[in-house]
């Protein structure tokens, strides 16, 4: 259904200061079409401020946040270029979902006939005549997503879209974002939870204290920043440690158990061969990586000390 041109979001040396506080401190990155880009950072990292500058709500102290090379106010049909949900609760509680969407649609020059199908798309078709104030947070989230999508925009921006959704809603929102990206749209969503990123994003932009920490694909992020290790369990832990040491592989016993050990810089294939060669019985052999959550926490905590 989506037919317009791909549009790139770009932050050019973006700075935003509030008095003495620097919320965004020289951010430069681009968000490309066709993939889901996750905008990750702890609370107060400057994510929302950056998103607001893309939408022209806040004026950068210096630098620029452009949509398809233009500031949003300069684009001819803003609603067909960008759809956004910053805060799901940001809707007049006394207005019905249908009236709310109709007002938004008309403002962007979109036919009212898009209202009903868009409400259907987000699963609110049956409650179009109910006031938004009576909605649960999850339903408001869906209404916010409908508000973002009604103009069939090339770019969608969601601030913390998974907050307040139940597990089924989270799965729905994830697959929606993937579908939107697959249609060739530029999809940017923010979160302070690495776990949400792992399951949803193809590309990561990580910020902390308003500065860029990483801008790379999720797979590159994983291979570059996490180390693989092999975990083995055996009834003969000293025997396996000895055999691995003879084979030149570094291994350490897992202090939290009596029969497990961690092997760094090797593969399950190799550890299995070493164990077989030494005649040591294995009860488990698996490979694991550091959790991204840990990597993220380490990244942001070292930054904090540096600052």
């Amino acid at each position: 259904m989506h037919s317009s041109n791909p549009v790139i979001l770009q932050a050019h040396s973006l700075v935003k200061r509030y008095g003495r506080l620097t919320a965004v401190d020289g951010l430069s990155f681009a968000v490309r079409p066709g993939v889901v880009t996750g905008f990750l950072g702890p609370n107060g990292a400057g994510k929302s401020t950056t998103l607001r500058m893309f939408l022209g709500l806040d004026r950068p102290t210096s630098g620029a946040a452009t949509v398809g090379g233009l500031r949003l106010a300069e684009t001819p049909h803003p609603m067909r270029v960008v759809g956004a949900m910053l805060d799901a609760r940001a809707v007049h509680p006394r207005r019905t979902a249908g009236d709310h969407l109709a007002a938004v649609a008309r403002a962007g020059g979109v036919a009212r006939s898009r209202v009903a199908p868009t409400l259907e798309l987000v699963g609110l078709g049956a409650v179009a005549d109910r006031r938004a104030g009576d909605f649960s947070l999850g339903m408001k989230q869906r209404l916010g997503i409908a508000t973002a999508l009604i103009g069939d925009p090339s770019v969608v921006i969601f601030d913390e879209p998974l907050n307040g959704l139940d597990p089924e809603g989270i799965r729905w929102a994830r697959s929606l974002m993937r579908d939107l990206a697959a249609e060739g749209r530029t999809v940017l969503f923010s979160s302070h939870l690495m776990g949400e990123m792992e399951l949803t994003a193809d590309h990561l932009v990580v910020v902390h204290h308003g500065r860029l920490l990483a801008d790379q694909s999720l797979s590159a992020f994983i291979t570059e920043r996490t180390t693989a290790h092999v975990r083995a369990r055996t009834p003969d832990r000293p025997g396996l440690l000895q055999a691995l040491s003879r084979a030149g592989v570094h291994a350490a016993p897992d202090a939290s158990s009596t029969d497990a050990l961690d092997v760094l810089g090797s593969t399950t294939d190799h550890v299995g061969r070493v164990a077989a060669g030494a005649g040591v019985e294995l009860s488990e052999l698996s490979s694991a990586r550091d959790s991204l959550e840990d990597v993220f926490l380490t990244m942001t905590s070292t930054q904090k000390e540096a600052a």
């Binding site: 809707v91 006394r94 007002a103």
Partner: protein
């Protein structure tokens, strides 16, 4: 055109809009009639020499203006209070256009409200005066027609002023405080101010001048259409201030 339609949907889909419209009509008429009922008690006593049967029909505007200003203000303040403004500005990022649209829709709603309010208040008041055997306004008289039109114009300007104050203060209570101060407090206190300040404030203060425009009494100072013009200029400046504020501030 699309944005006008959007703002119209916003206005008509909120019950507050219609409560304020109905409230403006009812309160204005009731207060005007109460003003006359005060006269009825001692109508045989000498009426003041400058008794103005037209002006007295619009006494209720003093209270009605607060409601109509709130009608204007809430087009912005309700959006800031709920956060809806973020969506509105994302969809229509040109803030001057959004302000102009809200002004236009509010002016139209206020115009319809003002016509009904003024017609009802004038009709009911004249009927009450006639029933009591008091002097009534002379409708074909140019001064009376002018006063009626100025009363409509004054209410519309007050609503427009409300929109501007809503955009500047972003808060219903803030806007209301300014409206009450400008429209009620200063006109009430001005006569007590000393010397030139009191004279100026009692004559050229925009709402005082505006309120003089819908009477036929020539009490000196700024009267008639000139009074409404003073109010219009003040409203224009406030609207420009709202425009500058909207452009300069982060949403």
């Amino acid at each position: 055109m699309d944005l006008l339609a959007s703002e119209w949907i916003k206005a008509r889909s909120i019950r507050t809009t219609w409560l304020l419209v109905a409230g403006t009509v009812v309160v204005t008429v009731v207060v005007s009639l109460l003003g006359i009922s005060g006269l009825l008690a001692d109508w045989r006593a000498d009426l003041p020499a400058d008794f103005d049967p037209t002006g007295i029909s619009f006494k209720g505007v003093l209270v009605g203006q607060i409601l109509v200003a709130t009608l204007g203000a809430q087009t912005f303040t309700s959006e800031y209070a709920t956060g809806q403004i973020v969506t509105s500005l994302t969809v229509a990022p040109r803030r001057a256009v959004l302000l102009a649209t809200k002004l236009a829709v509010t002016a139209l709603v206020a115009l319809a409200t003002a016509v009904v309010t003024v017609a009802c208040s004038f009709g009911a008041s004249q009927a009450a005066l006639a029933a009591a055997g008091l002097p009534t306004a002379d409708l074909p008289d140019a001064g009376t027609v002018r006063a009626i039109l100025c009363a409509v114009g004054y209410l519309v300007l007050t609503a427009v002023l409300g929109v501007a104050l809503g955009a500047i203060t972003r808060s219903s209570s803030g806007a209301l405080a300014v409206v009450v101060t400008v429209a009620l407090l200063v006109p009430a206190l001005a006569p007590g101010l000393p010397g030139l300040v009191g004279d100026l404030a009692g004559t050229y203060w925009p709402t005082t001048a505006g309120q003089a425009s819908y009477t036929t009494a020539g009490a000196g100072g700024v009267t008639g259409s000139a009074g409404l013009a003073v109010m219009a200029v003040f409203t224009l400046w406030t609207t420009l201030a709202a425009h500058v504020t909207l452009r300069a501030r982060d949403a």
